[in-house]
């Protein structure tokens, strides 16, 4: 019988819960039955390998997708995608989306009383290089109110979507900004108990990638699941 090298599971404190009452939308959307533990099979260690063919020029520069430049602070978001053992994840598609500098998404459901920016769509994609590195140019998103609780505001964030190497490594997360005063108040960010794990989602200001006279640099490294120990024959 063939052997399959699966992916490691997280410690429960480093994992996000499904039911987290402070985030009100989880209450009716979280399963109540325990999850059934699934061993990784060929179906889970394979997965969609979307790569370079999905990306067009300027897809990684959200400030150059329209005739004019968008309003807001221009930033460069870059980093590396590795697995939990530090191995780079090359040729991996990264898709991002975000609101504009005023805190408004270009989406029919977003009715926040803040202006849309005709020069900003808020979507980008790129592919990691051989070392797992990636880079986006965009503008700093604004904070915005949401109806979760009285006077609730989401901290500034950018949504990140990655596939990694397998169905089991699929990750959609959010990148936050260092020192954002809204972070301690945000139930989405605080759903992760372990502070170290939670802070994985906070980027750091980076003078090395800051471009003089042009844009501030933020570094955001992303860690995907690592493999189980290599199977021994026999």
């Amino acid at each position: 019988m063939p052997k399959v090298n699966g992916y490691r599971r997280q410690k429960p404190t480093q994992e996000v819960p499904y039911l987290y009452a402070p985030y009100a939308s989880t209450v009716l959307r979280s399963p109540q039955q325990p999850l059934v533990v699934l061993p990784h099979t060929l179906s889970e260690i394979t997965g969609p390998l979307q790569g370079h063919e999905a990306v067009r020029p300027n897809d990684n520069d959200l400030t150059r997708q329209h005739e004019g430049e968008p309003q807001g602070q221009r930033i460069i978001v870059s980093g590396r995608v590795t697995d939990a053992d530090g191995r780079p994840v090359p040729d991996a598609l990264i898709e991002i989306w975000q609101c504009n500098a005023a805190g408004r998404y270009r989406h029919e459901v977003d009715q926040h009383d803040a202006p849309l920016d005709p020069n900003f769509s808020g979507a980008g994609r790129t592919v990691t290089d051989a070392d797992g590195a990636y880079r986006f140019v965009t503008i700093e998103p604004g904070a915005y109110p949401w109806g979760n609780h009285e006077n609730a505001w989401r901290p500034k964030h950018i949504h990140f979507s990655l596939f990694g190497t397998a169905f089991a490594t699929r990750l959609i997360t959010q990148m936050f900004f260092p020192g954002d005063p809204l972070l301690p108040l945000d139930p989405v960010f605080n759903c992760v108990k372990d502070a170290k794990a939670r802070n994985r989602m906070v980027s750091s200001f980076d003078i090395e990638t800051t471009v003089p006279e042009h844009a501030l640099g933020y570094r955001f490294d992303i860690v995907l699941r690592g493999r189980d120990a290599t199977p021994m024959e026999g």
């Binding site: 399959v4 959307r29 394979t46 959609i172 120990a229």
Partner: protein, 206 residues
């Protein structure tokens, strides 16, 4: 030194800005039995989830994944990646057209693979194959992490020997994993995803 994995966060209500729908069959004529799967994504009050997203991953009709780690001596299908993505509509409905996947092999899971919670319940059965199935990820506002489930086919003869289905011992719960043929509509299957409640779908710790 192991690194801590970046935690998941919800896709929120605006995911359509960043993630496009992807039809599993694309524009090409893919060999295999054409099927459609349609249903609704429902919350704990039975209401349709209108801002959800469903991703599917499957083998081709021969049971071969388009991925370098598929060790089987079978051919992939040019133009068929095996990946699909649909958004839910205002009533929580979704529908996608694909080809029925072939059976894929089962594998030895012990003791080095997923020892731990799986160890005591691992099916030590003599099955070589898994019944044809599509693996599914469900994303939505209110889901801090995507949910993982599987679509099996109620009329498939290999169901009884499927090692994963066997671990779901409650028959009523097991049925939530079965897409049901839509009578009088050849190739059409019906399959709902219920996030919570008495008809709750079986979700996997994957």
């Amino acid at each position: 030194m192991k690194r801590i994995v970046t935690p998941s966060q919800t896709v929120g209500p605006y995911l359509k800005i960043g993630l496009e729908e992807i039809a599993p069959l694309g524009s090409q004529d893919i060999p295999g039995e054409r099927i459609t799967i349609s249903g609704r994504l429902l919350d704990g009050e039975g209401k349709g989830v209108n801002d959800g997203m469903i991703e599917t991953w499957q083998a081709n009709a021969r049971g071969k994944y388009a991925h370098p780690e598929d060790f089987q001596d079978k051919q992939t299908t040019p133009g068929f990646t095996g990946f699909g993505r649909v958004w839910t509509d205002p009533e929580g409905g979704f529908r996608f057209e694909t080809i029925k996947p072939g059976p894929v092999p089962w594998n030895d899971v012990a003791p080095w693979n997923d020892a731990g919670p799986w160890k005591d319940t691992a099916p030590r059965n003599n099955s070589d194959n898994q019944a044809p199935h599509i693996v599914v990820s469900v994303f939505a506002r209110g889901l801090l992490k995507h949910l993982v489930t599987r679509i099996y086919f109620q009329d498939d003869p290999l169901l009884a020997d499927d090692p994963v289905l066997k671990t779901v011992t409650d028959a009523a719960r097991r049925e939530t994993l079965l897409a049901v043929p839509d009578s009088g509509n050849p190739g059409a299957y019906l399959w709902d995803i219920v996030l919570q409640g008495p008809r709750e779908t079986v979700f996997f710790d994957c």
